[in-house]
Symmetry: C2
Subunit: 201 residues, 2 copies
DNA sequence: TATTCAACTTAACACTGTTAATTATATCAT
DNA sequence: ATGATATAATTAACAGTGTTAAGTTGAATA
């Protein structure tokens, strides 16, 4: 009974095709400036076909963001190696986080700024990929605390402080590219270094 | 020649009326969900009248954001009192910044996240209100450095690190209200405290 | 009173997300 | 191979969007 499977495969392929087209357009032209008709044109289907695969435009955004979070998670998990020096790992993770945001600025904004505006359900709920990203951060931080490098014992707060710092600098660099920033890498390092030192104190 | 003056006054009044209506709608329903026609209805004028006072919708957003920055600047400047303890002043300023963002979350996002998406001209250019806000921060930081409380001598970087931290936590709290944050006030204090301690180290 | 000029409005254009009704197509049973 | 069935994709339409051009009003000037 290979027919049904083939059909299912084809359906999934088209769904993926729609997703790719949507991501590419969202990233290049901005979510607001992308119409369902534009996406439809790109994949050479009629606009309403998209609605057979996604509930609406916000749902499409949702799926794109989920992919982005998966990418981010993969990028981070590749750094989890040397747990012996947890502070160094945390530093590297911070850098990787910011660099991910700057490498895919539109994706980052889509996921962490624009999506929350449309879907009140954050994408950080239990079991979600978003939660796993924060889980990763929690793990890093908790190892630092366990080895008594950080003074404070509150894992949650510590993680959230770290997240605030990297999220903040990422968005500022994305949103105000013409601001007379300190040299970019220096600023990122300063943010991460300052936060880590602050957590040690 | 009071007639022309009266007419000019009336024009300015209507402009202000449009601005107020726009802000109220933007704040309550989100920039994307507010149409020119909605604004027009609110002030009981035809939609196209707005275009006699503002170039387009983005220009309207621009003006709303400029007002927001002025509000923020005023809020901050009221704290500039006791320069004797610059660290305490900086701490208070940080808190005031975040609290401003949380008090007017839509305004904050409009100004620091949504506007940059539409107007590449940041609103932080020379002579602007936005620049004055960062000038304020620079002043606070520079006093800390002058009194040798902060080790680093780079005023710019230090200020930008501080800004990253408060911007980050503000946006996270706004965008993910359902995330299991540490108690809000505790988190804000932790962010500011950590950053300041980190800058001391 | 006629004219000029600014303020404002109406009508229109090309576009948006989305739904309902309709057509085409590929699979199945006969 | 032919007809029935289910599913995939399309067309047409609705109510709404930002914005422009042309037209109307009404008051200040000559």
């Amino acid at each position: 009974m290979g027919i049904k499977e083939r059909r299912a495969r084809e359906k999934e392929q088209l769904q993926q095709q729609i997703l790719s087209a949507a991501r590419e357009l969202f990233v290049n032209e901005g979510y607001e400036n992308v119409s369902m008709r534009k996406i439809a044109n790109k994949i050479e289907y009629s606009p309403t076909t998209i609605y057979l695969y996604f509930k609406d435009k916000a749902d499409l955004l949702d799926s794109v963001c989920k992919e982005t979070l998966l990418n981010l998670l993969n990028t981070l998990e590749q750094l989890k190696s040397n747990i012996s020096d947890p502070v160094e790992t945390l530093r590297k993770s911070g850098r990787a986080y910011v660099e991910f945001g700057l490498k895919y600025p539109q994706d980052y904004k889509l996921t962490f700024v624009i999506r929350p505006q449309f879907q009140k359900g954050l994408g950080l709920e239990e079991g979600s990929v978003g939660e796993k990203v924060f889980d990763y951060l929690r793990e890093m931080v908790s190892e630092c605390i366990r080895q008594q490098v950080f003074c404070q014992v509150d894992i949650e707060t510590t993680g959230q402080v770290m997240w605030s710092a990297v999220h903040g600098v990422t968005l500022l660099l994305i949103d105000f590219p013409d601001f007379p920033w300190t040299e970019k890498d220096k600023l990122i390092d300063a943010v991460i270094h300052t936060t880590i030192e602050g957590l040690k104190a």
